[in-house]
């Protein structure tokens, strides 16, 4: 099935610079329907207002981390299969393994570029 470039995407990061950069990269890839959240709690609030086809989240956020958000998303009745890409500076094998066990769809290590983002999104969503 072809990937719709209009799909609603939620990006979650507590650094506004990173939200801006991720939004720009997604725009470069053709994805314009992007909503921003500044931590896990804000993300859950946004998910209550709108259904998202893809979540791209940072790990290190307070008060609710991206890892806790991932577990919440996988445990919620509406979102157990929504693709969830973790974008993080957490570069330890145990972090990747924990995220994988919690059901992450893919794992991107910061800093990253548009090429890496595209390849990981294609791995999750299919070619576009």
């Amino acid at each position: 099935m072809a990937v719709s470039k209009d799909m609603p995407i939620l990006i979650v990061d507590d650094f506004k610079t990173m939200l801006r950069i991720t939004r720009q990269m997604l725009a470069q890839l053709g994805f314009m329907n992007v909503t921003e959240a500044t931590d896990g709690v804000d993300a859950i609030e946004k998910m209550g207002q709108k259904d998202f086809a893809l979540i791209i989240s940072d790990w290190n956020m307070e008060p609710m981390s991206g890892y806790d958000l991932l577990k919440h998303v996988r445990g919620a009745s509406k979102t157990p299969t929504v693709p969830f890409v973790m974008v993080t500076a957490e570069r330890k094998p145990e972090n990747v393994i924990a995220a994988k066990k919690a059901g992450v769809s893919n794992y991107i290590i910061k800093p990253f570029n548009a090429g890496t983002l595209k390849s990981k999104l294609m791995a999750v969503l299919g070619p576009f």
Binding site: T17, A89, R91, K100, Y107, P111, A114
Partner: protein, 155 residues
């Protein structure tokens, strides 16, 4: 020559008293003081370990800022020569991602320094300090995995 007194040596001496305390050879007040002093030493060790970690984060942050500045300067020079104009805006944006990584490191340092300030404020009034919740953060050069490693772990 007598050995130089040190906090570690004093801590060791206090620890040797613990078995005698168990045997009831000290008064309750003496036992309380010895235990309180040992607790203070434990807190000192934790705080100094966190401060040492903080200095490493600052060193990494300086290197990352320098690398990002060099990348931005190279891109700016290319722009001045009117080369690679199609992708240059995106590449400059990507290079600005250093702010996120550096910001995370500085946040960790800030958190540690705040906990140290709290610790100093509590010294002398109580030995009960809440342990700082230290995130592992971005990690250090040579000690972290690459995107390829993460991909292999993801399978």
């Amino acid at each position: 020559m007598n050995p130089q007194p040190s906090l570690n040596a004093l801590q060791s001496i206090l620890e040797t008293l613990l078995p005698q305390m168990e045997q009831g050879k000290f008064s309750k007040v003496e036992c309380h003081f010895v235990r309180a002093l040992l607790e203070q030493f434990k807190n000192h060790s934790r705080v100094f370990a966190e401060l040492e970690l903080s200095t490493r984060h600052l060193k990494e942050a300086l290197g990352e800022t320098e690398n990002a500045a060099n990348t931005l300067l190279t891109l700016a020079e290319d722009l001045q020569r009117d080369e690679r104009t199609e992708d240059i805006g995106l590449q400059i944006s990507e290079a600005c991602a250093f702010q996120d990584i550096v910001g995370q490191r500085l946040k960790l340092v800030q958190k540690t320094l705040y906990s140290y300030v709290d610790f100093l404020a509590l010294m002398g009034t109580t030995t009960q300090t809440s342990p700082a919740t230290i995130m592992s953060g971005p990690g250090f050069t040579g000690e972290v995995i690459s995107q390829d490693d993460a991909d292999r772990l993801m399978g």
